[in-house]
Amino acid sequence: MQGASLSVGAPSPQPSPRWGEGVRTSKPDRGDVRHDDKSMLYFIEQFLNGIQLGMLLFLLAAGLTLIFGIMDLVNLAHGSLYMIGAYFAATFAEWTDSFVLGAIFAIVATLAVGMALEVIAMRRLYARSHLDHVLGTFGLLLFFNELVRLIWGPAGMTLSLPGEMLKAVEILPGLFYPVYRLVIIAVTLAVAFLLYALVMRTRLGMLIRAGASNREMVGALGVNIKLLYTMVFGLGAALAGFAGLMQAPILTVQIGMGENILILAFVVIIIGGIGSIRGAFVAALLVGLVDTVGRAFLPDLLHVYLSESAAASLGRALSSMMIYMVMALVLIVRPEGLFPAASK
């Protein structure tokens, strides 16, 4: 790959970050159902995998869509917070010898990093154009990748799970599913519910919703808008870090891990409608399901018409493309996404 990295860092000796073909290139703990078994069970398993990916995407997209909707900031460094959350969790889990403690510390630490980032850099970007946002946050992305390399070294880390989470349970007769993936689904659902309660039932949430529909008015009404922005950014960062640490045991913790999933998260918030948490939720599940189920079934579907190897490579390409096709379709039919933020 080194011959191909074409601009920044081309001649330097450092290895370019590994770019996988999507976020789910390695799946060490998939369920036990065999790939060639086209049974209903296989479909259910893939469906659950899709839900699980969707829920993780939601964590990432919820923060992104809030930041985008309220501060009108295009944040390419959001994936860096995802990466940092995973690195923090791996480190703290090693220190405390506990996955749960490590995760809690990591969330707090990512929240702190996010709020500091907002105070130091991001709040100076709000008044600039979207292009300046891209330039500035791309700079931050480079900075964070390099900082992680400086602190944790170029080799990745692993975050190991407690023993009981490594097991698989029989959720249906004949269908064994990894406990950890069920835990991800349950915990992220709980977080989604909490987020919903926060946004719909609290004063902070009211301000957030008000900020998403009319920023100037909220400021004019005497709300401390600076503090609100810092809190929203911190919340988004904590959610991203949480997504990163939940995904960490499934994938390896490595530099650049946030880059591909960031693009998926952008796809989610565009499909869902910028600024809408409900839209992000629906779109995240849609993207997660389309991506996972497409990956699982397209090659076999194509195999009906094509030779095995042709079907495999075409299927791989097509299934990676599917979510982008969905997004293009959604935008052609509904140019503002599925759930445009109300009263805009």
Binding site: A4, P11, W19, A328
Partner: protein, 323 residues
């Protein structure tokens, strides 16, 4: 030519003229520097600067002057490169075939992408162009015959009979230089033509342009296709330069690089993309000679420019632009 070098609307001589002229002199003499110092890497680096400047220039035509923020411009670079690579692999080594195919393929792709994307606005346009680039990226990964994820080595550069020998590094450098200058001239002519004024009008107020009777969609689409074709040529050059193509050429961070070059240099300036490409690549290179962690400096620098500098480097040189 003075108007082009200055690229501002006023006619008073300005520091910009000196900087742009100096830039051209440096680029013209770069092979001499490489020969004198015996630093072969300088040639490689400067050739890369020229090629990526051409790509960033094409992006700037639609982004800076047309207001169409495409976040998928690396796709055209990749398509141009893959056209050369695939033809070379299939035994068609003639540049007279490869390069026109590269340009045509990129233009055709731009026509399709533009026709669909230009129906959306603002952030949605940014994201839909990104989506198309991602699709192209995954298509390239799926091309098993042409290396898939690993990419494809090109064993022979495009052949132009006895006319040009691209293996001659100095000759190749000057070819890139000439094509870049031709590109800048073309963009300059375009931007200052009636066509260019319509495009710029559509950037500032599209509704008004439509109201006075311009089919802005068609103008923008043509502009989009021209930019795609130009970037396809840059891709053909890049494939010849690195002798290698791979899907990584089209990764979204490469599109980000091109955007950064254009924004960093100054989007309202004809020489902005060149300034931006040169600054970014040279800075990156010199920093990485000093430290292993070049991006620790480069990243915050980009952030600083984004926050405090208006109009990129060109804006710094020229001070406030009149008009």
């Amino acid at each position: 030519m003075k108007g082009l070098l200055e690229t501002s609307r006023g006619s008073r001589p300005s520091p910009r003229l000196a900087v742009n002229a100096g830039l051209l002199v440096i680029l013209a003499l770069a092979p001499l520097y490489a020969a004198l110092t015996g630093d072969p890497f300088a040639m490689t680096l400067f050739t890369r600067v020229l090629i990526l400047a051409l790509a960033a220039l094409s992006l700037n035509l639609i982004m800076g002057f047309g207001g169409m923020v495409s976040f998928g411009h690396a796709a055209y670079l990749g398509i141009g490169g893959y056209a050369v690579g695939i033809l070379a692999k299939e035994g068609i080594g003639s540049g007279f075939v490869q390069w026109p195919v590269a340009i045509a393929a990129a233009a055709l792709y731009a026509l399709v992408v533009g026709a669909l994307s230009l129906r959306t606005r603002g952030v949605y346009f940014i994201m839909i162009t990104l989506a198309f680039a991602q699709m192209t990226y995954y298509v390239a990964i799926g091309l098993d015959r042409y290396g898939g994820d690993d990419g494809l080595t090109i064993y022979q550069r495009s052949r132009f009979g006895s006319l040009l020998d691209l293996d001659n590094k100095i000759l190749f450098y000057y070819l890139c230089f000439a094509l870049l200058l031709a590109g800048i001239y073309l963009v300059w002519r375009l931007v200052n033509s009636r066509f260019g004024l319509v495009i710029q009008g559509a950037r500032s107020n599209e509704r008004r342009m439509r109201a006075i009777g311009f089919a802005t969609y068609r103008y923008k689409l043509v502009c989009f296709v021209i930019a795609g074709a130009m970037c396809g040529l840059a891709g053909a050059l890049l494939a010849n330069h690195t002798n290698f193509i791979s899907p990584a050429m089209m990764h979204w961070t490469r599109s980000g690089d091109l955007m950064i070059m254009a924004v960093l240099g100054g989007m309202q300036a004809m020489f902005g993309p060149l300034l931006g490409a040169m600054t970014l690549l040279l800075l990156e290179e010199s920093l990485s000679r000093v430290t292993d962690y070049a991006n620790l400096v480069l990243g915050p620098l980009l952030l600083f420019v984004a926050i405090y500098v208006n109009g990129g480097i060109d804006g710094l040189i020229g001070g406030v632009r009149h008009g």
